[in-house]
Each structure stands twice: as C-alpha cells, then as structure tokens.
Symmetry: C2
Subunit: 355 residues, 2 copies
C-alpha cells in the first residue's frame, strides 16, 4: 500500500534501484506482463512487431528473469546438487567439472557441497539441498545407512549415486566396475612375474570392497598364495587423502617375514605413500616391489617412479551422471533404477614394468 506508487512505476524510463522486472517492461511498452512473459519463453502466440519491441527493451534493460519467482510456480529450480566427500580429490574434482560442463548448456547450475567424508555432515548437506528444491542430486556418499536417501525419495527428487554404492539401497548408480579394477591390477602384477602380491585396501566403501574382491579373485584364479597379513587396510587420513596411510600400511608389509614383491594399492595417493615407504627402505621399484595404483591421476607421470594405475574415466562418470539426472527431472513416476559400470583400463608405467 505504502509504496504502491513508488514501486509500480519505478522504472518507467530509467534505471533506479534493483533489477528490471517483467512489469517494468510491460509498463514501458504499454503491454501486459503476460505478453512479456510469453515473449520471454518464446511462446508462438505473439505478433512479430510486439515481440521485437519487447526483446529490444529487454536488452536495453539487461533484463534477467527472476529464478526464484519462476521456481515458485513451475516447481523447478534449474539446479542440480552435487555431494562429494572431498573436492580436493582429483577424481571428484573431475567429476564435478564434467557434470558442470554437461548441464551448463541446458540452463542448469550446480550447487556443490563437500561432506568431508563425514556421514553426519552429509546428511545435513542433503537436507540443505532438499530445502533448496534442487531438481536432481548426484551423490558420492560417505553414508552407511539409507535414511538420507529415503528422505530424498519421499520428496520425489531423482538422485544418482556415483562411485560408491550403499548396501540395501536400490538406486541409480554410476561408477566403475571395481572388481574389474582389482582383477586388472592384480593380473597385471602376476603377468609381470610377481610371486607374492599384497593389497593395501581402502576403508568402508563399496569401492574398497569391490577392488579387494577383484584382487582375491585374480590370485585365486592364478593359484597365487594369499599369505596372512597381505591385505592391509589404510587408515583414514587427513589432508593428504591417503598418502600417509599408504606409507604406514607399506611399512607394515615391509616388516613381514616374507615381504611382498608386488602391491596393488586402493588408489593413487595411497600408492604414492607406499612407494615413498619402499624407497625409504632402500628398495627398488619395480625390481624389488612392483606397485599399481588406481585413479590414474594427472601427475602420475611426474612421480619419483611413474606410477602404473587403473584409469576409471572419471569424466565419463560425471557426464553419464549428469545426463541421467537431467533425463529424470520432472518425471512423474521414476523409471526403474539404472546401473552403469565403466570398464577400467590399465595404464602401465615404470612402477610395475619388470619385463
């Protein structure tokens, strides 16, 4: 009531405070807001001349539709939420980059949150994204139970798990075939003539379990020994995301009566730490101990010994997840859940090349 006059005629000609609104354009041109709205959305029922006038004025005023107002009516925010355990880890950074690139052209923006691998924090972040009514979510989860996901389902928001699966949860999943990762890496070590192959495994994720399964299967298939103590879990570490844990785990392996002559490491940071420990012990890579990692980080070529690693095509995972997410937006009844497993690829470098 108070500011009716002041607001409604706010921008009859010039720029005053705040961004331009449909109403401003309508008033300037003597049209209704509906007409402007139709032009904005490319509605066909508009005369050519009118459309041109409106577009011209929009450009002059640098008009940007208000997403909040639009979202309120349409129920779509044109926003995708991404939850990752750690943005600093190149795998997740690459996934984020790929998703961002994929959805950008479709008018979507990406809200990224980092859970720091803390289940409680992740729940809160998911709640926050829910409150913001993102159109879909992509999650690399640090959770072990399913209730966060039940909440998402209640709100009927499509979501896609990446990299890590959740037990007892039937959900869209895109990741790498982790058992194949373990198989590929271990078989390679066998082919390089390793006789006693150890594994430094990750902690608590489906990823870690899958890779270990592949490792064991490869050993069994090739009738290789599986001495006790040859599978060492890497502790949860701080900022280096595995390197120091890899170092410690490798020290344990080196202290065994029969030390291994090959190690398959859960991921590249762990492998770096392990290599460090091996070199510090005065041993040679790969002559004394061959090392294989996973992730194929970008700097693998520049390490003290270039690291053989299993590539998991992170960019493809991101792109697939984004495509699936977009295809699910606004669907009434969600189609049956989809699982997509990328095939891993071995990239051989000096750390495992014995022949």
């Amino acid at each position: 009531m108070i500011n009716q006059q002041g607001r409604k005629q706010r921008r009859s000609k010039a720029h005053s405070s705040g961004p331009a609104r449909l109403k401003d354009i309508a008033q300037d041109l003597g049209l209704s807001t509906v007409t402007i709205s139709k032009v904005l959305r490319g509605h066909p029922d508009i005369g050519e001349e009118t459309r041109a006038r409106v577009l011209k004025r929009m450009k002059e005023l640098n008009y940007q539709p208000n997403f909040a107002a639009r979202a309120l009516i349409t129920g779509r925010t044109w926003t995708i939420g991404l939850v990752v355990p750690d943005l600093l880890h190149p795998f997740f950074a690459l996934v984020a980059k790929a998703i961002s690139a994929d959805i950008r052209g479709q008018g979507y923006s990406l809200i990224i949150t980092s859970s720091e691998d803390d289940p409680e924090l992740e729940r809160e972040e998911i709640g926050q994204l829910l409150a913001r009514r993102v159109d879909a979510m992509v999650i690399a989860s640090a959770q072990h139970d399913t209730d966060s996901f039940r909440r998402i389902e209640e709100q009927q928001i499509p979501y896609i798990l990446i990299d890590r699966r959740i037990e007892n949860l039937q959900a869209n999943f895109i990741g790498v075939d982790d058992e194949a990762v373990g198989l590929l890496a271990t078989r390679h070590l066998i082919e390089q003539g390793c006789q006693r192959i150890a594994h430094i495994r990750g902690a608590g994720t489906s990823t870690a379990a899958g890779r270990m399964k592949g490792y064991k299967r490869a050993l069994a298939t090739h009738r290789q020994p599986q001495p006790p103590g040859y599978v060492v879990p890497v502790g949860i570490s701080g900022d280096d995301r595995g390197s120091s844990g890899g170092y410690a785990a490798m020290e344990k392996l080196l202290s065994l009566k029969q030390r291994p002559d090959g190690v398959f490491c859960f991921n590249d940071p762990v492998a770096m730490g392990a290599m460090h420990a091996i070199l510090d012990a005065g041993l040679r890579i790969p002559e004394d101990i061959a090392v294989v990692g996973c992730g194929n980080l970008i700097y693998s070529d520049f390490l003290r010994v270039p690291l053989t690693s299993v590539d998991q095509d992170s960019a493809a995972i991101g792109k697939s997840a984004a495509d699936l997410a977009l295809s699910l937006v606004g669907k009434k009844e969600p189609p049956r859940t989809k699982t997509e497993l990328m095939s891993p690829k071995l990239v051989v470098r000096a750390s495992s090349l014995r022949k």
Copy 2:
C-alpha cells in the same frame, strides 16, 4: 480455482504429494500461517506451548521451508556464486573447499562454475549467476576487460576477485602478493649459488606479471645477469594445465648457448614439466639446474625430485573471500573496496637444495 479444494486441504493429516508447506501445518494445528512462519524463524512473540506444538508438527512432516518463496520476498537467496578457471587445479579446488566450509554453517550454499579459462564462457556464467540473484560472487577471472564486472555492480551484487586482478578495475581483491612470490623464489635460487636464473612465466594474468616483476627485481637487487631469452612464456595448454607447456619452455632454455643453472617456474605444474625436460636431457636437479615452483601442491613431496615451491595459502584465501563476501551481503552502500594480500612462504625441498 479448479484445484482449490484439492490443494488447500491437501495434507490435512497424512502425506500426499509434494513437500509440506506452512499452510499444511497451520491447518493441522488450527493456527495461521503467520504464526508458523514466526516459529520457523525463531520470532520471540510466540507462546511456549504453541511453539512446541508447531515444532513437533514440523518435525513429523519433515518440513523444509521453500527457499524460492523466501527469496522472492526477502530478496536474499542464501547463495554464493563462485567462478573459477578450472576446478581441477588444486589451488581452485582448495579455495572452493575453504569457501564451502566457511559459508556452510551460516546457511549459505555455493554454486560453483568453471570458466575453463575462457573469457566468453565466464561472461555467460556470470550472467547466469546474476539471473539467479546470488547474494555475492567470488571470481577468479579469466577476463581482461571490465564490463562483466560493471554489470555485477549495476545489479548491486557484492563481488570479490581472487588470485587474479583486473586492470582498471577498482574491486575487492584477495590473493597472494605475487611480486613477493617472485622475489622469494628468485632470492632463494641466488642464495643457493645459482648464477644464471631463468623464469618460465605464465600467460596473461596479473599473477604472471607480478611473479615476473618479483623475479626481475630480485635479479636487479643482487646484480645478477638477465640474459636475453631467459624469460620464456609458457603456452596455454590443455588438460595437464601447464606441464607440457613447462616441458616445451624448458627445452627452449636448454637449447640456449649458455643454459641456466636455476629456474623459477610460474607454478607447480609448469615446474613438473620443466623438471621432466631437465631429467630427459640427462641433467641433474638441483646440481645442474635448480628448480622452484609455486603453489605448493600436495604431491610435491612425491615427485621424482621433491619440488621446492612457494606456498600461497589457498585455504586462507578462500576463507577470507568467504568472510568478506558474507560481510558484504545486503549492505546498502558498499564500503570502499578492500585488498588483502597473503604473504607467500617458501617451502624448500630437494629440487633447489644445493648446499
């Protein structure tokens, strides 16, 4: 009109379609929406008993306020926009992580966009964030001109440049003192006994210019020679973000009649490439050529030769930017712009240790 009945009484008891609204709770409890809204925001003018009842029902329904509706009225979206050239670069990933962690507790979410170092793309992304009415923006810009920023200013949205400055633009800036970076690195090489120090410089950014200035000043101060051809620009590269450019630049330096015995590299990826080239040429680091990088990436310890690097405290930059951004949100007249320069710190490793 059509669904008045259907909607208004939608969730009188149970869960039907869509998330709960204030109105649902009000109806269930025989109160007005205003009362519920006040409880939601912790308004004091509410009876204890009423408050308790409302909170209980909210919990039961898993109520989440609709951000879009709130934003429409308050004019605040509780969203910060971040624009970086490349999320994969650890510096920007770390900045993003720090900002995210800082604003999380205050109820803010972070929309992150990657400009791929493409000025045109960056303009579009900034436009997108403007349309979304983010409350503030943090930008590591790939632009050279100022009009994107004029547009932000027109919309009265506070923004903070990080890492890279823009010429002729008076704006909030948080970054590292790049001249000090160049000074620190170069002086260190001099102290290590290097006689002919080269510089592989970055392209086009204020950062690159500042570091080179520091390099030149250190040489001048210590009366060191500055032979022609000793400053080589690194080409813009693809996915390795500088490594291949560093390799090529170093090859050029190695082909000079008098090759350098020390190199200060624009950043760590470039330094990795340069070290690669040096080793490939059969030379030793640091005995034949000492190398210093910048950024102090996390894996510097694991390289073929551990890399001496200038640390720029990326996390502090992120945190400062976030704090400043939040402090600026909703301010009528923006206070005068603020510049904050972090002091760089040299982290010495084997690549430069000659004594």
